[in-house]
Symmetry: C2
Subunit: 356 residues, 2 copies
């Protein structure tokens, strides 16, 4: 890696042990061994075990490998939705999941509010089979609260809940008992290159998919029944991105070894000083108005001087994220991921203070 | 990499310049930069240009990035087939494409013959929209001939032809004028880790997809119209596997620099001495009976002593492929890819001669 530090929310800074594991993976021929070999099955087992521990997945939650969160949207719609899903939309990524459902010709609905706003209406149309919720709306820095998720679950006990945990996992604690399926891509908080997605599904999802499979096509190689058939042998239907699966497992193990609680405490500390720096600064303001809904992993500020501030930091080798989509010119996004040391965030805050 | 040499047909031996480019990619922060940045757009342009040159693609053939050949099967069916495709099947991979079409509820048909046999019947059912052909059936080492492909084209001028070029590209010359769409995964002859697929489509494919798009769902993010929309800006609909796209481009450039013709001549030379070694050996025989249909990149031999021979070579650090699927115990598969030096194949042949 260069001497730059990427505070962009994805693609993001590589995890600080990434290069070391990459070297070992190449030396061990991980990309050349057979994906059906006992050697690679051990890699699969290791990664799934580390993720299950790190995310504190309850019994019966399976971990599968896809290529991205985009693919997860596709697979969830194909496998779990016959007619209609309902989506909570307050940013570009929650909207994309809704758009995917419509692209698949579903009669889906959405609660669409302004970007970054907190939800106040929780009504779900009758007949909804699956509710799409975004834990951390990476585009604008809104966080869905655990108590909101819990309330959604209590009010809709028979509806599947799909949680987007991109840029949330593993930094934010999530009670998976409120969730039936979840997914993330690894180029955010896990500090890996893009090209691997993780899809988590519980037994209810498998039951729904199995029932639907007798009536309709769920797709081909990455249907839930097929993923489970291979997954039960710690394998995948096709040759997967073996190198990244290996690296994801090693990084998850590193985080576990250093302590999940510590990593989460650090996340809170770094978010706190970043929020403070934004509050104290005359030229920038928080974009998300509701304090408790502000993301701890993707800090989003609005400013008329965004481009200039980003450019200023770039000269110092600190790469901040610009706004997403229509907010490109007016937002600054700062990632707060496990790979960002407290020292690097403290430095960033100090420099921010000096920006005029 | 270790000191082993992988002659397995995929996952395979990494390309000999792979590590050097990997180091440079990490140093240049390729996995951390934005996939919408001008820096990454240059990477995309470089890779597409190198592939276009290396594969000698005619005007109007677009190059898109997927995650695997499996995904290409999915996308071809979703985008280009309304009711029926027809598949030439003489091994596991050609069969899988057919299976994918059926999984998508298409009324597809197939010419199914024994594994590794040469085709003799070329009839295509009326109403066929797309013909699926496998240039190199990696599972059994059968090669579809250029003259057969040309004849298929002449007899079916109005039907799309999809060519599987997994483990064929870039080693075998292919006349893309006989092909409308083609695809490969990079963990075979290009010597990269698994996790990236390349999908090539000509204008006819785009026309068909555009026409179908007004009537039916082609999927979501990786429909041909959407890939083209982003592709026209040298971008992708989602964050792609940026690292592997970079590496693929660098390896393609290396092959071009050393000379495509030379690489292909070497492929023929290495295939010739491997075939000779099989012919001369009392314990092993060619699996594909028709000499001209024997693959030059995936040499497949049958033997009652396969496991013992593979084990024998393994002790010397030379990893040969076992048979695929039902042939697991009785076949030996030897990859002959651009990364395999003439010297390494000569050594392999010498050792084979000594195996009793």
């Amino acid at each position: 890696m260069s001497n730059k530090i990427f505070f962009t929310p994805g693609p993001a800074q590589l995890f600080y042990t990434f290069e070391e594991h990459l070297k070992k993976a190449i030396f061990q021929d991980i990309p050349s061994i057979s994906h059906r070999s006992s050697e690679f099955i051990k890699v699969m087992q290791g990664t799934i075990e580390a993720l299950t521990d790190l995310l504190e997945l309850p019994e019966g939650y399976q971990v599968y490998f896809l290529n991205s969160a985009n693919e997860a949207w596709d697979r969830i719609i194909q496998n779990l939705v016959s007619n209609q899903s309902h989506h909570f939309v307050n940013g570009s990524f929650s909207k994309k999941f809704y758009d995917f459902a419509l692209a698949h010709d579903k009669q889906s609905t959405a609660t669409i509010i302004n970007d970054g706003e907190a939800y106040s209406s929780w009504e779900i149309p009758e007949g909804t089979e699956l509710i799409g919720v975004t834990k951390n709306e990476t585009s604008v820095g809104h966080s869905f609260l655990e108590k909101e998720l819990n309330q959604l679950r209590i009010s809709n006990p028979d509806t599947l809940i799909a949680l987007d945990i991109v840029s949330a996992a593993p930094s934010l604690p999530i009670d998976f008992n409120n969730v039936d399926t979840a997914y993330f891509s690894v180029q955010k908080a896990f500090g890996l290159p893009a090209g691997l997605g993780v899809w988590i599904a519980n037994e209810r999802c498998h039951e729904v998919a199995n029932q639907r499979a007798s009536k309709t096509s769920l797709g081909s190689y990455r249907t839930l029944p097929n993923l489970k058939k291979f997954g039960d042998k710690d394998q995948t239907p096709e040759t997967p991105n073996m190198l990244f699966i290996y690296l994801l497992g090693k990084i998850a193990e590193d985080i576990l070894r250093a302590g999940t609680k510590r990593m989460r405490n650090d996340t809170v500390y770094k978010a706190t000083i970043l929020n403070q720096a934004i509050e104290n600064h005359p030229l920038i303001n928080h974009f998300v108005e509701s304090k408790e809904h502000r993301s701890k992993t993707t800090i989003v500020a609005k400013s008329d001087h965004s481009s200039r501030i980003i450019e200023n930091f770039k000269k110092k080798g600190l790469i901040l994220g610009s706004g997403y989509g229509k907010h490109k010119e007016n937002h600054i996004r700062i990632a707060n991921f496990p790979t960002h040391s407290k020292e690097s965030v403290e430095m960033l805050c100090d420099l921010l203070e000096k920006v005029e």
